[in-house]
Amino acid sequence: MPTFEPVLLANVGKPDSHTLKVYEATGGYRTLRRVLREMAPQDVQNTIRASQLRGRGGAGFPTGLKWSFLPKDDPGPIYLCANADESEPGTFCNRVQMEHDPHQILEGIILACYATGASAAYIYLRYEYHLAYERLQRAIQECYQAGYLGRNILGTPLSLDIYIHRGAGAYICGEETGLIESIEGHRAWPRTKPPFPATKGLFRRPTVVNNVETLACVKHILERGVEWFQSIGVPPDPNDPRDPGSFGPKLFSLSGHVNRPGCVELPLGVTVRELIEEHAGGVWKGRKVKAVVPGGLSTGVLSAQELDTPLDFTGPCKAGCLGLGTGGVIVLDETYSMVDFLYNSCRFFAHESCGQCTPCREGTAWAYRILKRIKAGRGRLIDLDLLEEISNSIGIIPGSTICGLADGAAWPIKTTLAKFRDELEDYIRRTNPQGYRSTVPAEALPV
């Protein structure tokens, strides 16, 4: 493989990398100047579509296709929302980007607004990111002063304002229509689709929602070209006409039981084993891997036998996981109990379910209660069947909820049951000798 040159993290680590001065000194906003001079908005859209860039926030939807859903010749306003609500457990790369290179994201946003005709952009930033907030805010001020934002940007007809909208500690705001509701000042209940945001989004106007890492990629594709982008990553599967491939660099958040947790940039398709051994300094305390969350908690777990899974948009699916997710890799060592893993996961989703859809609200809450009971040593084997039943009936995939939060809650349960059932059964047998006597669910439920 040719040597890989990071672009998304290229400035991280340089002194004052968050300032306009340093960003411009490393070629920042040169692409914006050139694009505004040489390319029509439709050319920009075509370039992004040709690059087959897919969203970096979790769902992997092709960005160019998303933009193309906007109505043509709309009188405006059109809005762009930059999703910086990064709340998926195990994910922190957006934070690193915003703290160290906020201008890269702003340049991506300005280019995306030029391409889509958006006249205002809202960065939805989670409240807990205080340093990112300060630096983004400062960077936006610098842009207004330098003429990169405001009216008639760089002397062209393009006018754009960027605002930061801060969240208030709710995971659901990362879902694109939950995010839109939250900007509108409402509870962040995801909307039923259609209508999709592209036609009726923020303030009922055509809207694009993109993750901040995706927007940063937009800048680099326009700077370096489609060929460069497609020279990185994994080409489409020739046997699957619907696979658009997994091109480009991706940020991976490495955390858990590793020696060197952190954010790294690598080509899509890197294996979990490479990430752990070459980029995270191996498993801590000289231990072995027991399980790995490949792309944020929602995606489920891989077992130690599945470490050669490539992290591209299809790799984790082939190993039973929900998908590439956010690229948040959490490593769990051989001493960590999968009961604790599932307990932690179920607690998270029960806490973060927004409560709008009954199957998710009740399903996540009951899964948590069952796990609490198992952990406390009062589990029954039949509880595992019950968990399986819950996990198969909540979410978009079984078709019982509006958004995908419940699918994210279900996948850790499904994959743990599929790959670590022996350990869960063993725990129940050891802690509750009566537990392997089957009971009917109705008797099993009351704690």
């Binding site: 205080h130 340093l131 208030a168 709710a170 900007i183 962040a188 039981h257 908690l297 959490i330 996961s345």
Partner: protein
């Protein structure tokens, strides 16, 4: 009765108007301003905010009650400490640190010390997994925490 939203808070809220095409959209940033200034969002502030924005008080209350972030019943302590216990932090000792903090402060998560100094909270993933176990105290992120570092942190807080 005197208004709880001071002229200064009102000014800060009104400064948000140009950012959004509707007044409803100002609710969330306004709630942040109010909580930062008063330490909580008392019922009277809800009424006054609704009046200021020209929306029904129920609209404000609906948004307020959805986000667990806002304190509605009593003011928060001077510093709000969030202990992350999601997977990456939990697997590296976050739960034990939470227990230690509970003991040190003599309160449970969600409670405030009697002297009004600290409110202790459990957090779901705060996006600092590279520094696990992590704690957010006010606006400061405390990284790679241990019991000793918690002692230091507590000493440094007002």
């Amino acid at each position: 009765m005197e208004a709880v939203l001071t002229p200064e808070i009102r000014q800060q809220i009104e400064a948000c108007y140009p950012k959004y095409p509707t007044r409803e959209a100002v609710i969330l940033p306004a709630l942040h301003r109010i909580q930062e200034a008063l330490g909580w969002v008392p019922p009277k502030a809800v009424e006054e905010l609704a009046q200021l924005l020209g929306v029904p008080p129920a609209r404000v209350q609906d948004t307020l009650s959805f986000y667990g972030f806002f304190a509605q019943d009593q003011p928060l302590g001077r510093t709000r400490i969030w202990v992350c216990r999601s997977l990456s932090c939990g697997a590296r000792g976050g739960e034990e640190l939470l227990e230690y903090l509970c003991q040190r402060l003599g309160i449970r998560p969600g409670q405030t010390t009697p002297d009004g100094r600290i409110t202790l909270e459990v957090a779901e993933c705060i996006g600092a997994c590279d520094y696990a176990p992590a704690i957010l105290a006010g606006r400061t992120l405390w990284k790679n925490m241990t019991k000793e570092k918690i002692d230091q942190m507590l000493e440094s807080l007002p």
